[in-house]
Subunit: 193 residues, 4 copies
């Protein structure tokens, strides 16, 4: 595949990402993608042979672009608590769905193609996040900013609650106030004051 093709592939993925963000996963058709990209039906098939493949490629891109929030932040000079607050702030934005995101599409994708836990890339991503958060908590405990906690369990608990907020905000709807309340509850369990 020449450079030009690579560019086209990128274009397709970028365009498709918008579509998935808007329509989720299950309603997206090859036709949707073809039309949004302004390419030919056959043209799309040269790169991807199903909506599923397109989505998987979009997800892979996503992963590549997302670097670890914590490790990045930890290098800067900021208290551990600051890093935690930044993390929660970003989570809140994502939960609210204010930025174009693939949350619903990803849920739908996972429902549709139940992968074994091992081969599921989101699984690894989640575990990594738990791991990173856990380390952050330990760092906070060490320098006395946080309560003494079972870091692993606390990190997992936080991640479950955030995931609950995320899915509930897309299903039954959660007000910003409720989200703030819960984030406050979570923080209260970690940081004195």
């Amino acid at each position: 595949m020449g450079e030009k093709s690579e560019q086209k592939r990128q274009m397709i993925l970028t365009t498709a990402r918008h579509i998935f963000a808007q329509k989720g996963y299950k309603d997206v058709t090859m036709k949707d993608i073809v039309e949004a990209c302004g390419i030919s039906r056959g043209g799309l098939y040269l790169y991807f042979s199903s909506v599923r493949e397109v989505f998987e490629a979009v997800l892979k891109e996503e992963e590549a672009e997302t670097d670890d929030v914590f490790s990045r932040r930890l290098q800067e000079d900021a208290t551990v608590a600051d890093v935690l607050m930044i993390f929660f702030k970003e989570q809140k934005k994502e939960i609210l769905g204010r930025k174009e995101d693939l949350t619903v599409a990803t849920y739908e994708y996972n429902f549709a193609h139940a992968l074994s836990a091992e081969e599921n890339p989101q699984r690894r991503k989640f575990d990594d996040a738990v791991q990173a958060l856990s380390q952050l908590l330990e760092a906070g405990m060490e320098n006395g900013e946080f309560y003494e906690l079972e870091s692993r369990a606390a990190a997992a608990n936080i991640m479950y609650a955030l995931e609950g907020l995320r899915v509930l905000s897309r299903t039954i709807g959660i007000s910003e106030e409720r989200i703030d309340d819960e984030l406050f509850t979570l923080v209260s369990g970690i940081v004195p004051d």
Copy 2:
């Protein structure tokens, strides 16, 4: 609609429930339902005019059958902690998806037909559960079985975490061990020992 048709309606709902439990919501077609029920295409339309209508009727049935876990249990002679444990045990079973359930179908349904929070019946159900759990926690605090907590916030926190477990077990997959760990964490936050 005579008694016979009422029976048929019930049969359709029962059959459809199985289908939704197996295939979720988005993949189910009128044809699927028709074939599973062994009735004619037109026959189904006498009762429901879309898959959505069928699903909504299934959900309504479900709701009617589900009575409030807590209020039921509280009347029996058991410690509050016992009631809590029973609640968690049932939640675990549901999270594991061992019993034929509509979790995924309901998620897909909600993604597909974003209802305003007010008109969403699942919303009320969730709020009710938070409320009931909150009261249970207060009961436990009063008789000294539980820690002193902000009951409302604690109840919400638990419900969010459980929802997170529920959705994650259908997407990235959660091992029974992990579920047990999290339930233990949740219980530890409430009951001393």
Copy 3:
């Protein structure tokens, strides 16, 4: 068929007439009739076994009710010209479609079931009208109210022109002014002044 059934049959025809006047012939379904009449599907079939049969019965009723305009009027004391004017006035009303009428339905029915000229009842109706108009013209000529004309040809010509107006007003649309113009032209060809 008892008296009660006869009443029901009448009710069906009356109701169906409204439907045909509104929707024409080709779009009317047995379902439409059943619903408008508030009777059961099977019930309708006891009286009529197709939309066509219903429509034919409606037409037959119609015919029975319509008595000959001219013979009726001629008995009253009025000039022949007066009778002619009344005739044209009624035609105008019908052409404009101001009264609920079966014009379109009848056209559609005739297009759909091309009958031989002999067995077509509308054919006889039309010929009768030509005949009556012809006699009216002769009466007018005899007493000097009208020009001397080939009465048969003149009557036919008028009826064709009126039919043209009728169908054109339902297809391309004809303004009231145009209708008046044409009626004036027709009258001018008969009555001096």
Copy 4:
């Protein structure tokens, strides 16, 4: 759409024209067209998305092919009366329906989709014909071939009568003799002798 598709579009229209001429408008289904054309269901939808669209395209074609009878004839050396006779002869052929025509289909189409007079293309066509005939009459009057008449009114009257013949020949049936009689009547009103 390349040249090849343009050809296919033409083929569809030609085939569809036969169907409309045979079955009228209301009974024609997309399936009829698909089968007569020997193409796939989806294939037809690439060109037209409803029977209505097909019919409107057929009508548009028709219009494009039909050039104005009168203007064409007037350039040749012939008496005005000759042109008139040719016009009537063509009208007779059309009224008799000897050539495959869209009369009934067009009526049904107009009944089904009542357009405002302004946007109805047949309306313009009719008005143009009245206008052309009117000019022809004036030409005949000028050179003394025709009676002195109110040309506009006479032209309109003729067109209405012809339309009446046309529709009646498709509904109640009109014998060739009757048509000849009426055409003779019309001519007699214009040309002495």
